[in-house]
Symmetry: D4
Subunit: 232 residues, 8 copies
């Protein structure tokens, strides 16, 4: 089932196959094109979620979709479908942790994504490894997570340390924070791929959405069993 | 709690913190050093699992640990602890899929890891994207997985296609199979990091162990809820 | 035979040797320089085609060449020579396929190039691999192509899948669409170079012109035989 | 239609979809596995062709497939199927050109591939650009090709020069010949991707098979029209 | 002997050691700093030459140094010292050749440098390899050069071809002209470093000054012998 | 003052200028050449120290220099000069820490270097970040160091964590331990260069000698003041 | 001890552990966030130092912290705490040397950092290796340093030469000065990592702060002994 | 004029065009192929010179060409043609300088090449920049060179320093000597490309032949004028 708009072929079947509707990646799309996709999704009873939305795009779209929620830091845009938006806090628990304050936009993108998927979320900021007492002090907040997202730039060392404390998967998202030999996030990416902690996987540089999505998927699939839902 | 052997500080507390004992990465370690670590683990009631073990190392160790299971393709070595080895098939369901036959050693490493973690496993080989009918023909075998590992070299396109069919996380492991501009797995790694499927995360090149571990962790955490275990 | 203008040596003999006139790459050239080249070509009875033309360049040139056709998305500029422009749809059939909507400018550049060469063209958009049912649904539109151009960014997986369906060459053009580890098209380029489909060749990142040109050349050389033209 | 052997899923339908049977990439496959695939293909009336075959693999296989033709320089292995092998010289004309003598193994791989596809072939060696009179002296041998393969290492400049003389596509294959900043073929690959000749496309480093296959496909599709075959 | 200005230590002894005065690299220097260096040089009877000068810098400096010659395309700035400027055309013969028109600014920088060194110069533009008849047609203009500079972007193939025609050194300067896999001149740089012509050496990307300087040095050292000057 | 041997110009003045004699880098040197350098140093009353010495080189040299000390793990070779070898433990305190057991050869090279410089040394092994309790448990052993060397491969995260605990400089030495995207130590190198700890500097991959030398220099310069030596 | 501000967790314990308070990296932080951190530090009796501060940030902060010292070239911002700022010239002697005038901003950042740490400092500019007499002429100014910072872009050769003259550590900081194959400082970084001088360590590209900090730490730890302070 | 041997097209016209005969690059060529080329050259009165010749190749060839001179360190092989070998020391003066003893094989290749071209040569070894007094001490030996080759690995800093002392061109050849971040000569290559000395050009990594050839060409072209030969 494909919803053909003038500029795109909306994958309306994705909700059935993959558990969540298609998500719109906003850069390079006109406001008209995004609105067309949103309407196609809504017409088929599906929730709309967009990422990397610019302030300009959001300003115009909010006029057409008055129930939308735009988070300018996360650059996300959510148009809930009246009947179908997943209830918050029935989708498991996702914790997002950042090494520095500069990682916040990516962390927020992950958070908004997990929230859109119905997960309960928590955010722990600025607990990078150079202040070794800061992370353990927050341990009670992430010990019982179903999945953890760790956003870090520069050397990207934090996911390994977090991974050493928990028995759930850690989704590491390298950020482009840094300069010089950080090479726009490459140093962090390589560090995370080479993590000595066995429970750490990695997504693309600055891919807050994908980190939040995988964490949300892990958490939701556990929650479905926990809540007795029939599994897909 | 640390078990100090002459050559290493065994992290005996990892089982409690992370759900599974420390795993031995064999390259560069002497047989004596590995045997010391194994004995330290066994003495504390923990299962022993080692990866990247050479035929030479295995030949010598099997004489000391007669109950061990060595998979020469996967290069894994498992010394089960009498009382504590997790029961097979109570740890959720992990499916491993390969693009080509050359990806088999890495796929086997992932399989053995997930089996060691108590997961039920299945292996689907040689369903790369250039034969587009091969993957859908196997869909019934991976549709109900708790987590899927996809091993692929060269262009690394298979995880995206698998990701488009399922609602569970896909752990993509790039392999060093290929030549020329595959750059020993870099092409596959980059392809997987840029996957257009939202449920795909990535581990290091040839990191069959880590892919299997994360998949096993996801599956086992679901299975624990399913089987009514108290969660960590 | 060389047409020396103040800034360039126009290769007026290329039409005879290579089947088509020299094409102007616009960046870094002044409007005067481009106009000089156009006039030199027209004076020798040759069609004028330019790529990567900016809106500013086009605005000024259109005043001097009133019969020109400018496609601002493709950034192409075509000044047909009265007597010699190849008849549309006698040059074989070229189909252009894109993975996402962001690949459209490059796809349009390929399309305009193939049209300029006299080919019949078709465009299929937004059929990336994460929605696995979308491409097969369009199969009737590309099955009988003489050559296919596939434009894709990010992981660049689509050409392999298209290649698995057809018996004509597939010209893969990586686009710079993506972020982070897409490295401005490098991930897609490497993926395409490592394609497991045997009928896939590759051109430079964002090289819509070259992809369209090679596809057009293949299609036209078949069409010449089909239409009984004497071959070069 | 898939032929499942113990180690592989042979794509028996590829002949119908793509015009030629699946080709075996030999590295990492056991002789038994290759023999199984060959028998599966032969049982379905399909020709067998393998690339990158080692001397050891060939020695054992030749005992089982006595009609096979092994080219040790090209590392190709061909087991013709009695009734179906395409007639030589009805598949169009492919010319292979090399810059130096070190490029010969890759050139031979391309030649053998095109011959297997039924093309008439010619080989021109050692006409690199530093001896500028050598290529034009051979022009009569490549002027009427349906497709040209150019193999070159080091700086990879030859395809551009060849491209400037002809009106057919040029398939450039970078070779890993060179040292230092040739980076095992990367310099040649980049040179070819940036070729200023519009009719040049590129395949992977050392990918003689793919270069020969695409050239053979172009030539054969023209030849089919020329010979009045019904087109696919 | 060092001329200390507030911001720099001018190497006033360089003329004696190296044959020419220190040359000013303008980026990042204030107009005041450049003027101070110029005055220090002039006060010691030395000629002033600066490269990479912006239009803004030049506009202000020309007011202070009214005899200066500014070439805005080359971005060079020359303040001749009354008594010491080398006589034009007594410094040997340098020819600069470009592959395309986009290479002109770098070629001009090389030309101005060689002229400042007193060389007779010639410029041949737009004779890239895809039009194979264009370079031989100009052969009479570069056959008797003492040194040749070849500026080329994209694939950087032209120096090898030029090198094959002459018995003088060819200084290859890769330019950042191109897009995609040209990587801002890296493709051209690698091509030139791997040139199969033995008489080709290479300078940094876009280093028109250095190419012109080395060519000028070679030409001038020959000319000194030719004109009977005592050699350094 | 230079000691010319047939194959080298020994920098006999380095002891005076830099505080320690020239050190021999053994690869690519013949045993005769090394012995010549040693004799030249000894003749001028200087201690001999060599790195990266192969077992073969050491076997032959030990016969000529019977007082030598060879550490085969560190690959160092020390021929003390009777009167001048610095007294152990008067050169300050250097602690070497490793992330894993594979980093031991590089750590040993650093240790031997610091010992040769007269420093008191300590070695702490296998305290990588994934076992977060292991490093703090050893804190008493490194808290009072004058300089610390941290050797780590893979992600290279340990120096940042160590740096967060101490007020002395940390010299980070990336090792080539790891696989896949560790790129022979590049991942660790980039991680260390981007360390968020302000007291971390970096040396080349596997450069145990340089790490040990800089740490030894820092420690010795403090010790000189501490012991009332006149400073250089 | 952590001072939680709305946007950050200030590491108030760092002064005790590492000898100096936490330093603020300004990019990406709001003026409010920086002011909050400053107030938190001041409230705990700690000195405030910030790097990479923009002119805009500084302009607003200077209004709130009237005793602050802003160096616009160095982009540093210092709010001394009345009672605790370390006395100038009791922290040892740090010399900063630059290869060219373009390296000045990074050199100034290192200087200001060392000054903030209480060190006596000196700056020697524009003594790059192509003018070989310039550095030795300044030798009296750097011979007695406790630590030396060398900032250089382009080829980054200066630290090796400086290292050959002294018996103290040299902290090399590569700068992004240069063009083409300098790759924004990568060429200098690699040169410095491969320095043949044993006393050279390296920090990140443009990391003036870190270079100054490590040099300051070395100098201060010597000075503490020299001045009879009790050591940490 | 081309001499076609079974495996190659010998460029017999190169002596006329470029001043010296074609040189054989030995790797990948059979002894028979090399001997064929030598005979073709000798038959046309041309001198034979080959590079990168293995000990095995040389052993077999010396039996066929008894007047040949083989330098095993340089890996060169020279078969002089009775009547035509250029007289030694009439071709100008070339000096080769190395940074370390490991650079000797490349330096020897350059030396042998320049000697083959008839130049007078000198070799200065082991004068790297960390011993700053060693180079100036040899200045009298290189001050009057017509061209200088500098071979250096690791950081590649020596050419800049040499360049600062002389008024002739310096041909820098990076060697693959080093480890870790030397990346097999890439660090030295980048350093040399970014040299701050204006008279430095660069050839490929380990390209001793090309460095020697260009230096020889410069020297010989001066010598021709000096000796009153008619110029080409």
């Amino acid at each position: 089932m494909t919803g053909e708009t003038p500029a795109a072929q909306v994958d309306l079947d994705r909700l059935r196959r993959c558990g969540f509707p298609e998500v719109v990646f906003s850069p390079g799309k006109t406001v008209t094109a995004i609105a067309d996709i949103f309407r196609s999704l809504l017409a088929h009873g599906q929730d709309c979620f967009a990422t990397r939305m610019s302030a300009e795009q959001a300003r115009e779209l909010i006029e057409q979709f008055s129930t939308a929620r735009h988070n300018p830091t996360a650059r996300t845009f959510h148009v809930p479908h009246a009947g179908t938006a997943p209830a918050r806090s029935t989708g498991g628990r996702v914790v997002v942790i950042t090494a520095g304050t500069g990682d916040l936009p990516i962390a927020e993108e992950a958070l908004e994504t997990a929230r859109w998927m119905g997960c309960e979320t928590d955010l722990i900021v600025d607990v990078g490894v150079a202040g070794p007492h800061r992370l353990p002090a927050q341990r009670h907040r992430f010990a019982d997570a179903d999945a953890i997202v760790v956003a870090a730039g520069m050397e990207g060392a934090l996911p390994s340390v977090v991974g050493g404390y928990v028995s759930c998967p850690v989704i590491a998202v390298p950020t482009s924070i840094g300069y010089g030999a950080s090479f726009q996030g490459v140093a962090a990416l390589l560090g995370m791929l080479n993590s000595c902690a066995a429970n750490v996987t990695v997504v693309n540089i600055d891919a807050g959405f994908k980190a939040g999505f995988v964490a949300g998927l892990i958490a939701r699939n556990i929650a479905k069993v926990r809540h007795g839902e029939s599994e897909a």
